[in-house]
């Protein structure tokens, strides 16, 4: 199914589910019919299902449906759970420390999830537009490769041209650059300012080089660009890898809070 059609279809389906659930809760929407308890159990069921997505990804050997399908369910049911959550808290700010914590946990989990969803839809487009496709975990390896290539280039230049200009330039300005990821925040913000500064500096420097040195300088610039692209990929892919570090723990924290919440509700309110 085409992406747009799929989104429209899934959105309509989610909206329908929201409407049906809200109508059911409103239909029986009175404490006499335990509306809050019903909405709570629906919410917990949704949370558990959302947590199962992680389990599904690990149980690849079982015929549980495509992970992509589960991802779609996770995303849209996450949105549904947000609406049910608002209904559950009666669209008001909770009072009480624990309930506030619980609500904050849900909101944080949902927010990180939504942010992650947006990032996972936006960032890949940026990544494909620039540089080559690299595996995030191999970036240190590629950085080392570039560093080795740059160092070899500089040494070869020094041996060939008998000049240490490029060597000193490298030592002063580029040794740190080729050592590890640079300008992460600039890349995240989409800014190319550091690269332009570096390029201007490099081109300014190259005016004072000989023709032979110029050739090495051009190759060095290629490596610099490659390194910049690699840093770009590192920053954006790092963002894609980083948001689960918030979303996953928060979702488990939310689940633990929910369990305590259930115990407290049934212990103190009982059979309404």
């Amino acid at each position: 199914m085409q992406l747009a059609k799929r989104r429209i279809y899934n959105s309509l389906l989610s909206l329908s589910l929201i409407v049906v659930l809200l109508l059911i809760l409103d239909f029986y929407g009175t404490p006499v019919y335990r509306m809050q308890v019903w909405s709570g159990w629906i919410l917990l069921s949704l949370i558990v299902f959302l947590l199962l997505y992680n389990v599904r990804k690990k149980l690849t050997m079982l015929p549980l449906g495509r992970v992509a399908f589960w991802m779609q369910c996770h995303a849209y049911l996450g949105l549904v759970s947000g609406v049910i959550f608002l209904q559950h808290i009666n669209f008001r700010v909770p009072s009480g420390y624990f309930e506030c914590l619980l609500a904050l946990a849900f909101i944080a989990t949902a927010a990180t999830g939504i942010i992650g969803l947006i990032l996972s839809r936006i960032i890949p487009k940026f990544l494909t537009r620039r540089g080559e496709e690299v595996i995030f975990e191999r970036i240190p390896l590629h950085t080392a490769t570039l560093r080795v290539q740059a160092q070899a280039l500089i040494i070869d230049c020094a041996e060939t041209t008998k000049s240490e200009v490029l060597f000193e330039y490298y030592q002063q300005h580029l040794a740190t650059y080729f050592f590890g990821p640079q300008n992460v925040l600039y890349h995240l913000s989409g800014s190319t300012t550091p690269w332009h500064h570096m390029l201007i500096k490099h081109q300014t420097f190259c005016r004072f080089l000989s023709d032979k040195e110029q050739e090495y300088a051009d190759q060095l610039q290629t490596l610099m660009k490659q390194k910049d692209d690699l840093d770009f990929h590192y920053a954006l892919q790092g963002m894609l890898k980083a948001w689960p570090f918030l979303h996953f723990p928060l979702s488990f924290v939310l689940f633990i809070f929910s369990l305590l919440h259930i115990v407290l509700v049934y212990a103190f309110i009982g059979d309404i």
Partner: protein, 809 residues
């Protein structure tokens, strides 16, 4: 610029496969030379050489096996012993990203559990798990266990409770310890199943919700929503469970009025249409007579609570036109000397010119006599005794004489004994009525019957009717073997009375002596004699002589041409034969009981004037009102008026469409005061304690109010009664300074003072308010709302309060 070489190769020969579930990766990755094998699952580097040489079968020839991605076969090849010639230093393995994430999750869970354990088991668990502030009325209950008994059981107890069904009444018990209801507190509306069934016909109940299901208090009264939360503001959707379709999309949801406000016919027969059209007003609207009422409020007045509209009493509403009907009423016989055929009457002397008939009153009194007399009475076909056989005449004559002798001797006690016996009752040793299920008489009824008997007139009449009654009866009774009781004639009641009367009397109050008839004529509305006898005879089921006598008395008093014509205006309700209930008054509303609907007539009249009566109560000119009284079923009727929902919707549309049920409807209608009742009423709010010695008082009782403070402050104490009148109790004329010190118990009235504080009318619920402030404040700073409570908006500064209620009966 040269085209850059691709860094990332994806071919299986060029690029090793990184398994995503690896926990550890080689530490030399960042140096650009990771090993092929990678760390073990414990994060330990396991690579010593760049390859593991492969030997031949003999083990004397070895080959390098370094993969292409790592550089391919080495130049030197393995050592002779099969060891790789290129050793590698161990790396410091690094956690994979996925593993780092997993560790983060585990730590987050551990920290979360730690935090929860710390707070839940810690000293502040109460404030941690509390879902919000309590209302200020409950805020004094600082401990959760005051309402939630499970709290003291700890976390394990909570878990156990959570997985076990809770008896709903257990949840209510804590609420009911202060808010005392009847035994049906958990039932809908606080009514029993029988009571609910009676009223259920007026509502459209939801089948899904059994109206007999028990409900917890907290279902509707939700706490923990903040200090200023209004516990009385109940979600109207709760009402919709039983009373309306819970699913409403727009439109008007309030059902049409049925059986409202008229649930049964009026007790007093008053045809408004007839009176309006024939007796009050002519066609032009002018009064036909001076005595005609000028408006509805001439006859109707709001009750003391302003809620219901009462009808003024007879004097205030009907007497202007109807008083004369009593002045012209005729008398009827109560006690007589009936005519007997004296030709062959042997034994008792009997006046030959006696011409009366036996009355049903006499039959009732005679029914307490012997079997012979009862059998004679049973055979009577009419009240004319002249056709009786000799023996029957003799028996009845002696019976009547014995009755009169009994009265002559014992006065009203004789009547009392006979009436008690006729109603299947008994007297104790002190002569007091014993109330038993079989006894159809009440103490007050008996007193009313006896008080109306004209003993003096009877005694005087007796001398004329049977001058020799005493001697004759004494002889007769001695021959019959009946004991005389040992009393002397001089102690006979009538003897004493006659001795005080100078001459014979022929009248006593409304009683008249007409030859051999002692007759009664009602003189005014509300005649006590009529009301007393109608009260004791309206129920006359049974076939005994006494029962038939009661029936006859009832028939006499309620006949079309009866003297009082009570039933001309006072209807009689009956659900079974020979069992009536006369409606003496208009509908009386017990202020202890709330109606399902609270409509404040006084308030509406104030706002809209007298003309609003006919706006809501629209005259139904086509109603056949009087036909409603041709039978005895009060539920089948046509009212003079009709009330439609549209009239209320003009002003209350929002309430009726937005399901704001509490605007007009009450939930707790059971007959118990729902205010807080506490033994040794002590409430502490802020720093002021205010209490009295009990919660129920009768008018005239003395009350002692006490209060104390725990820090110096200025105090004022007020009382508001059920009329809304406010009376200042403290400070007062005996103590004008309202500054109070701690560790002192102040009394109103002051200790040692001769002054007393006495409970005064009206009956109902009074509230005693205590207000405290660190600054002196005048009465002008106090504001009350219509319900008799504080106006919270205007009194936000005066937060030190204490309130308790007392019932005045």
């Amino acid at each position: 610029m040269d085209k850059p070489q691709l860094l990332q190769k994806f071919g299986h020969q060029e690029s090793p496969y990184d398994r995503p579930n690896q926990k550890w990766v080689c530490g030399k990755l960042s140096q650009g030379c990771p090993c092929e094998l990678g760390p073990d699952k414990r994060g330990k580097c396991r690579v010593d050489f760049q390859c593991k040489p492969k030997g031949n079968a003999a083990g004397d020839s070895w080959k390098c096996t370094r993969p292409t991605v790592s550089g391919g076969l080495c130049v030197d090849g393995p050592l002779p012993d099969g060891t790789c010639c290129l050793p590698m230093t161990h790396c410091q393995p690094v956690r994979s990203l996925r593993y780092k994430r997993s560790v983060t999750v585990k730590w987050a869970c551990v920290v979360t559990l730690g935090i929860l354990i710390f707070f839940v088991y810690g000293g502040n668990s109460q404030s941690f798990i509390s879902p919000g502030d309590l209302t200020y009325q409950h805020a004094k209950n600082a401990d959760c266990r005051d309402c939630h008994e499970v709290f003291h059981k700890g976390v394990s107890g909570w878990v156990h409770q959570a997985f076990n069904a809770v008896n709903i009444l257990d949840n209510n018990a804590q609420c009911l310890s202060c808010h005392q209801f009847n035994e049906n507190a958990a039932k809908a509306h606080g009514l029993s199943e029988l009571e609910l069934k009676k009223v259920a016909y007026v509502t459209e109940t939801d089948e899904r919700m059994s109206i007999f299901q028990e409900i917890a208090c907290m279902t509707c009264h939700i706490e923990h929503h903040g200090r200023n939360n209004n516990l009385l503001a109940v979600n109207s959707k709760n009402c919709a469970v039983c009373h309306d379709l819970p699913f409403n999309i727009g439109g008007k949801v309030h059902p049409d009025f049925r059986h409202y406000p008229y649930r049964k016919r009026t007790g007093i027969i008053f045809d408004h249409n007839q009176h309006y059209d024939k007796y009050f007003f002519d066609n032009s609207g002018e009064n036909l007579r001076d005595s005609a009422p000028g408006s509805c409020l001439t006859c109707h007045i709001s009750d003391k609570n302003g809620i219901k509209m009462d009808v003024r009493d007879f004097q205030g509403s009907c007497s202007a036109c109807h008083n004369s009907s009593f002045e012209d009423s005729e008398s009827f016989a109560v006690m007589t000397v009936p005519a007997l055929n004296t030709d062959n009457l042997r034994g008792p002397s009997w006046p030959e010119d006696a011409d009366a008939e036996i009355t049903p009153f006499m039959k009732l009194l005679l029914s307490a006599d012997n079997e012979n007399l009862l059998s004679v009475l049973a055979t009577l076909e009419s009240d004319d005794l002249t056709d009786l056989e000799d023996e029957a005449s003799q028996i009845i004559a002696w019976g009547i004489k014995e009755l009169y002798y009994d009265i002559y001797k014992n006065g009203k006690n004789a009547l009392k004994n006979r009436i008690v016996k006729a109603y299947y009752c008994q007297l104790n040793d002190k002569g007091q009525l014993i109330q038993e299920p079989a006894c159809h008489l009440t103490i007050s009824q008996l007193e009313a019957l006896l008080s109306e008997f004209p003993l003096a007139l009877f005694c005087s009449a007796q001398q004329e009717w049977f001058p020799e009654l005493i001697s004759e009866m004494e002889l007769y009774l001695s021959l019959q073997g009946k004991k005389q009781g040992g009393s002397r004639r001089q102690s006979f009641v009538c003897k004493k009375i006659n001795n005080t009367i100078a001459s014979a009397i022929s009248e006593e109050g409304n009683w008249q002596l007409d030859y051999f008839t002692l007759a009664y004529r009602p003189g005014e509305h509300g005649d006590d004699f009529f009301m007393a006898w109608l009260g004791v005879t309206q129920r006359h089921q049974g076939a005994s002589i006494a029962d038939l006598a009661r029936k006859e008395i009832f028939a006499v008093l309620t006949s079309e041409d009866s003297a009082g014509q009570c039933n001309h205006c006072h209807s009689m309700d009956s659900s079974e034969p020979d069992n009536y209930l006369i409606q003496w008054s208009t509908a009386q509303w017990d202020p202890r009981y709330k109606d399902f609907i609270h409509f404040n007539h006084a308030g509406h009249l104030r706002h809209q004037g007298e003309s609003v009566c006919e706006t809501c109560h629209q005259r139904n000119k086509a109603a056949d009102y009087l036909a409603s009284y041709e039978h005895n079923n009060p539920l089948q009727f046509e009212s003079n008026f009709s009330t439609e929902k549209a009239v209320c919707e003009r002003c209350h549309e929002e309430a009726m469409t937005e399901n704001q049920c509490q605007t007009c409807h009450n939930y707790h209608v059971s007959g118990v005061n729902v205010n807080i009742l506490m033994n040794q009423v002590q409430m502490e709010q802020g720093h002021l304690k205010l209490w009295a010695d009990k919660t129920h008082y009768e008018i005239g009782d003395e009350i002692m109010i006490k209060f104390s403070v725990n820090q110096p402050m200025y105090v004022r104490v007020f009382r508001t009664d059920s009329d809304g009148k406010i009376l200042s109790l403290f400070p007062n004329e005996f103590r004008s300074d309202h500054f109070c010190m701690p560790n002192v118990i102040y009394q109103i009235p002051e200790a040692g003072s001769e002054r007393t504080l006495v409970i005064s009318p009206p009956i109902g619920t009074d509230k005693i308010f205590g207000i405290g402030s660190e600054e002196p404040f005048s009465e002008n700073k106090l504001f009350f709302n219509r319900q008799g409570g504080f106006d919270e908006e205007k009194m936000a500064e005066l937060r030190i309060r204490s309130i308790f209620t007392i019932n005045v009966e």
